[in-house]
Symmetry: C2
Subunit: 480 residues, 2 copies
């Protein structure tokens, strides 16, 4: 571990955060909400701490894999710790733990909130809240398509960005180039969504906030009733479509924008993702037909929105799915584990991993019948390396292990079983709302302090694909 280099890079990240903290200031002026000073002070403290790290620690060495793990984990944690400051300074969230929970929920694009009355918040702080999600989403795209494949985490090698260079179909090897291209797509899609939402009657402020949190599959809203507040079929459908797009591998979007639309149809993960969303919606529509929504178009609108929102781990709500038939809830709970595509901003275990688990099991069955035959697990045309498969299987076991352990802790502090499991999967899969007392029309304010820490840690673990965080607890990680 090169601690000097790690601290230097964390310093630059804090300076980047300080710049981001200036972004809500014009909105604070415009709305006269009096939060300008809080943002300036927070930016000053972040920049100061960042500068201090840069000044104190010098290193000329190159980054290695170990520093990668530490920078990603501590970077995200620092963002949550410092990004919480404006909420405290402005007095909008009195408890630092609550502010930290809310900011961790932002940067991890989770969307769980401790706010009871969102609409009473100063607008610039709401914008900051949405911006934390958007920046988190930006980080995740690069993390999953450029950084984690290098670190070899949980089989992410498979999902390396296939972003071609300007001249040939060659991979751009440097993280920065990949990042710029993918971020271009991210910014473009966000811009288009803002325009479409505004043309449906949203204000620029609301449109910007919701576009930020849709593209990040974050799910923070500026309204207490979430997207239901707009009561507009047009807005519901726009958001459904963009949630769906945000759950797709951004490499595919990039290729599509360069004219290679056919790549969508050749990508097995995308097709499986599309099939799950479509199949899930059809099932939920059928189940909701009797009793819940007699009108077919309403049924389709609310069912599709909720299915896509949960599947992509966005967490916006236009209906209280806890009032739907038990079987609908069952479907939603299981899609909470699956999540979006690898290389998207969506959380969960990722569609590709689930697909590969299926295929692995199929191959195992096949091999029992034909012990001498060679059959490999493939994703698309490419055979999946055995090491990668082992890594994915380990990820699956670890995901369930963390789920079991964390929900045990939540039950230990007195939550009922549904709420304990629901709050853990909602945060571990970076969805936002869960079940029981943390359902789609509730919030996390009532969770005891220890529980908030457990859930904030779950958000971090889930967002960074578990391994990235957990390697740090190995003593041997810190040895020379």
């Amino acid at each position: 571990m090169n601690i000097n280099l790690t601290l230097r890079i964390l310093g630059s990240l804090l300076i980047f955060l300080a710049i981001a903290l200036l972004f809500p200031i014009p909105f604070s002026w415009f709305y006269g909400d009096g939060a300008t000073g809080s943002f300036l002070l927070a930016a000053l403290i972040s920049a100061g701490c960042g500068g201090l790290l840069l000044k104190l620690f010098k290193s000329e060495k190159d980054l290695s894999v170990r520093e990668g793990f530490a920078i990603v984990t501590f970077g995200w944690t620092l963002f949550a710790l410092f990004g919480a400051l404006p909420f405290i300074f402005s007095g909008a969230i009195p408890s630092y733990l609550d502010a930290f929970f809310e900011t961790m929920s932002g940067f991890t694009t989770t969307g769980s909130t401790i706010l009871i009355n969102i609409e009473a918040m100063p607008p610039s702080l709401l914008l900051w809240r949405s911006l934390t999600q958007w920046l988190g989403g930006m980080g995740i795209i690069v993390l999953s398509l450029a950084i984690l494949p290098m670190l070899g985490v949980g089989g992410m090698q498979l999902f390396k960005a296939e972003v071609p260079g300007p001249t040939a179909d060659r991979l751009k090897p440097r993280i920065q180039d990949t990042a710029k291209l993918l971020w271009g797509v991210y910014v473009l899609l966000t811009g288009v969504e803002v325009i479409l939402l505004m043309s449906g009657g949203m204000s620029f402020f609301d449109g910007l906030n919701h576009a930020f949190t849709t593209m990040a599959t974050g799910g923070f809203s500026t309204r207490n009733a979430s997207v239901a507040a707009y009561n507009s079929a047009y807005i519901d459908w726009i958001i459904t479509i963009f949630m769906f797009l945000a759950g797709v591998n951004f490499s595919l979007h990039y290729l599509a924008l360069r004219g290679r639309l056919g790549d969508f149809l050749r990508n097995e993960e995308f097709l499986f993702y599309f099939g799950l969303a479509l199949g899930g919606t059809i099932l939920v529509v059928l189940l909701n037909m009797q009793g819940v929504y007699p009108n077919f178009l309403d049924n389709l609108r609310y069912s599709a929105f909720q299915v896509v929102s949960i599947m992509t781990t966005t967490g916006f709500a236009t209906a209280d799915y806890e009032l739907w038939p038990v079987l609908c809830q069952y479907l939603l709970v299981f899609s909470m584990f699956i999540g979006g595509c690898a290389g998207s901003t969506g959380g969960g275990m990722k569609v590709a991993r689930i697909l590969l688990l299926f295929k692995h099991t199929q191959v195992q069955l096949f091999r029992l019948i034909h012990p001498r035959a060679v059959r490999l697990v493939k994703l698309g045309e490419r055979p999946v390396d055995k090491e990668v498969m082992q890594s994915i299987l380990g990820f699956f076991a670890l995901y369930l292990g963390v789920f079991v352990t964390a929900s045990f802790l939540m039950a230990a502090i007195g939550m009922d079983l549904t709420s304990a499991g629901g709050s853990v999967i909602a945060t571990l899969s970076n969805i936002g709302p869960g079940l029981g007392s943390v359902g789609p029309v509730d919030n996390f304010a009532h969770v005891p302090a220890f529980g908030k820490l457990v859930l904030a840690f779950c958000m971090l673990l889930g967002r960074l694909e578990l391994f990235t965080v957990l390697v740090l607890v190995f003593p041997s990680f810190w040895h020379k």
Copy 2:
């Protein structure tokens, strides 16, 4: 597939079943319960069908792996189909589906019952019910230690019986020899338990029944209130100890009887199993201290009994754990998935598989830090082959997949989520009682017909380690 040979062997199994069906007849005479004719008729039909199969199908070829799968799966199914006959002929269970469910629950050592008033049944039929479990347990020991390792199912290669021959520590290669030695242990332990239960005041009939179903980790009782009916601390502790023993690999018992007691302490799976039972009991005792059981000895007695009963997948009850603190129920639910040791009569995923999953995940984390280091997953001193590890990981994924699919089906026929999940895990892990409407003081009589079929299939799947049954649905299994 050699269909002739398969049918021949199934024919001999039916003749074996016919002989077993004669066993309850002396009890029927003794109690004068009028069921003798039912047993004779059932035995006649079984023997007739078995004889017909032997007469019609001739084959001189040797058994291959494929026939192994078919014989095991269809053998268990035929036992349940023909073993159900005495219940129908005597009129004790009017519906054939119910009788089939009860008998499948017997031969798979599950213990879920559709009987509402057990004590109203003719004694000889209760004995037959217990005997199905005891015979099922006998089958399972040989299946898991001699047959499945040969077929290569779900990593069972690892748990091959280490039963030494009479002269040296060499493995006896033939199934029959291994079977005889292990069955000797099984019969011996059953006999000792009968004597110990009788010395605690049980009648010979009750002692025999409970010893049969304890050693099989089956859990059928002759009393409506299960073991609670005897209200004796001595009997509770005897059964706790024998349930624990029944959840241990029978190879270890064999070695211990030959003086190699130290092998218990060198067996990593046993130590983990012991640790789980001890740790689980301590936690549940602590949680039950306030309110549930103020008296420490009562607390220990009831907590240990329920933990060991669920963990070993026996399913006897002396307390309604659904009235215990939420966290106790949470612990019990997770031990439902784990189950007993490989090579025991216990169900579930098996302690060794869970242990290896832990180790696999640890090795994955280690390899992220030390990409060039070689570290293998080991069980005890032996490194675990990568193929075996893949097989275990596939088993784990398949287990959860079956759990999710089956509980979806149970919810689809209108069961609430707790009862749907609870009934599936209770049958898939071969425990018996589940949660919700199929909890420890309820029964399965009210489950709709389709649900009973799903659950009976779960019993079979779980008992035969999933793969054994599921390979049969591959069309290529049936090709030449």
